[in-house]
Subunit: 355 residues, 2 copies
DNA sequence: TTGTAGGCGTTATCAG
DNA sequence: CTGATAACGCCTACAA
């Protein structure tokens, strides 16, 4: 239609030097025909893929989907496409999805494994596909990894509560097997030790909200109530919140809560939730930088990157009111949880100027 | 490695009839080599794709990601893969992402458009790719559509509040341009008319939580306070919640709130949120049924499917307390918002037996 | 700068 | 039931 040979069309569409006039004609023809290069054929012939595959444990968890979204944005600017698969939190499914992903012959792969020992590593190695392990960096990986500083995350959460005078802490986690969780606990234990406190109790609530609430309620009704709770995943945060609500425990009046991950609903909740925020955008950035380097042939030794988290202080944490003599200021009575309380460093959800 | 010809390997791997012994040898070889058929080559030669493309307005909105997850699950059982792209809430991006998706030559496509008039329809038609429009079914589509009964959704939300004695309603929406939103409003207006009420005010809060809260606060401080609020998207729900919290308005004591979409955090919030739940799983099911039929050559007239929503009653709505004489029972004083109040038909977040 | 020829890994076809 | 062979749409190399 443009009156040129297929080779010229290819040259235009892949951005090679072509006479301006021909290029113009080709582009017009392409857009009027709605023509786009067939990726399958292109990839088959050129051997280059411009596709990155991503394997995540679940697409129901907003932490993972927000990372997927960030990675997709990043890839788009580099003209790559993303193929995602969900392992449905199951190692068998993870394996079969990995196979499926590999059949795309992607240029590279980003994996958030289901478990610490990522069994798929050998498949990836056999296929010669460069990959980066993200977030759940438990076992010994022979690939680049990008994760968050989980120890410091736990440490900061605990220190925040301890600074507020809390002595009885409770840790709520979805599951304790993941090394991510273990490291967060380690940080908490360190902070406690530094403050002369015992290792706090940990309760595992699983991945179902109903049973999470049940388990927490059982625990709370058979143990002395903690004054500070640290939830180690966004799901655990939800579970803790729901349980406390059912017991009509006021936050932060009776119990202070530090959540994990930072989502819009935590800002909108009453009270808004103090939380550890993971640097999703930075993780996406870094993981793609690493992966792209490997795709481009970088063969330097693997690097294990670790990103810092940040503690976003909102209204769900306040000075301990239980009157423990070691807790500093004994309370001004049982203060109603206040959305404008003094411990809130973030401006709520608005810019706050006119509030 | 299996000592057979490539054709036989292909026959085994695509599940055709082959002598058991050969099949066995091929499978063993494949798994020991980690071999999987190259999709690009397979698709090129066979013309069949086993890939479905999905274009969504955003991957940051949990409503869309939950649909993506449901579709992915559905496709997996039928041995298809999913390629997703996000339009980043922008029509220009939508167009370019659509092009990119089309270059995969997918067997079919599922589209949730950014706007009511889906400009990409012509591209899809030109490519001859079967597609189904999902959720945002505004304009006149020449393709199958799957959506929710938005009018009834609005009607039920409003009727629920009206039944509780509320007369002053406020509608909170992200944007009023989408026909989804208009239909939900229409339902609300219908319910109001049936109850002899005026058309309620509508406030548009945009897509940024900060400014949403600002706008709502401005409105609330310059108008008489409504006793019932209906939020028409999950984001609007968040905005309404955040605003009310900042004004220290108690829910449902002073204002009842009906939210949209149903997520875990709504169950865990204090109070838990009454909400319109969209049948995500059923939508995914239906959209794939339709699309698969079209892929398989069904050329019957297009169908516009409409699924019912359900109202999940929780603790954020209660009988109107403002003492309007028309509102039925005048209040038993200003009841503290209670998580176990009589209007709550759902059992909170747990099975509740021991609560 | 442009055209021609060949082949990427797979599957459809057809002969054996 | 299996093997040889051609062709899918494109890109690269090389020739013009």
């Amino acid at each position: 239609m443009a009156g040129v040979s297929p080779a010229t069309v290819s040259n235009v569409l892949t951005g090679r030097r072509v006479r301006a006039e021909s290029a113009q004609r080709v582009k017009e023809a392409a857009s009027s025909l709605g023509y786009a290069v067939d990726r399958a054929a292109s990839q088959l012939r050129s051997g280059r893929a411009r596709v990155v595959a991503m394997l995540v444990p679940s697409l129901e968890n907003p932490f993972f989907t927000s990372i997927v979204a960030a990675v997709e944005r990043r890839l788009r600017t580099d003209d790559h496409d993303l193929v995602v698969a969900s392992a449905a939190d199951d190692v068998a499914t993870e394996h079969s999805r990995l196979q499926a992903l590999l059949s795309w012959r992607p240029a590279g792969m980003i994996v958030i494994p289901c478990t610490d020992d990522f069994a798929g590593a050998s498949l990836l190695a056999a296929a010669g596909t460069p990959y980066v392990v993200l977030d759940r960096v438990g076992g010994a990986h022979s690939a680049d990894t990008v994760a968050v500083d989980n120890v410091t995350a736990g440490l900061e959460a605990a220190r925040h509560l301890i600074d507020l005078g809390h002595r009885r802490l409770l840790i709520v986690a979805s599951a304790r097997t993941l090394s991510n969780i273990k490291l967060r606990c380690k940080g908490i234990v360190e902070a406690c030790a530094a403050a002369g406190l015992e290792e706090p109790a940990l309760i595992e609530v699983g991945f179902d909200l109903e049973s999470a609430v049940d388990r927490l309620q059982t625990w709370l009704s058979t143990h002395e109530r903690p004054s500070g709770i640290i939830a180690l995943t966004n799901f655990a945060t939800l579970g803790a919140l729901a349980s406390l609500a059912r017991f009509s425990v006021s936050i932060p009046g009776e119990v202070s809560l530090v959540g994990f991950d930072d989502y819009a609903w935590m800002r909108a909740a009453a009270p808004s939730i103090t939380a550890i925020r993971q640097p999703v955008e930075a993780m996406a950035e870094l993981v793609w930088d690493r992966l792209r380097a490997r795709i481009d042939g970088d063969s330097s030794p693997v690097v294990q990157a670790m990103l810092p988290v940040s503690l976003v202080i909102r209204a769900s944490t306040a000075r301990c009111q239980t009157g423990d003599p070691a807790a500093g200021l004994p309370g001004q009575g049982l203060r109603r949880p206040s959305r404008t309380g003094g411990r809130q460093r973030e401006q709520g959800t608005g810019r706050g100027a006119k509030a």
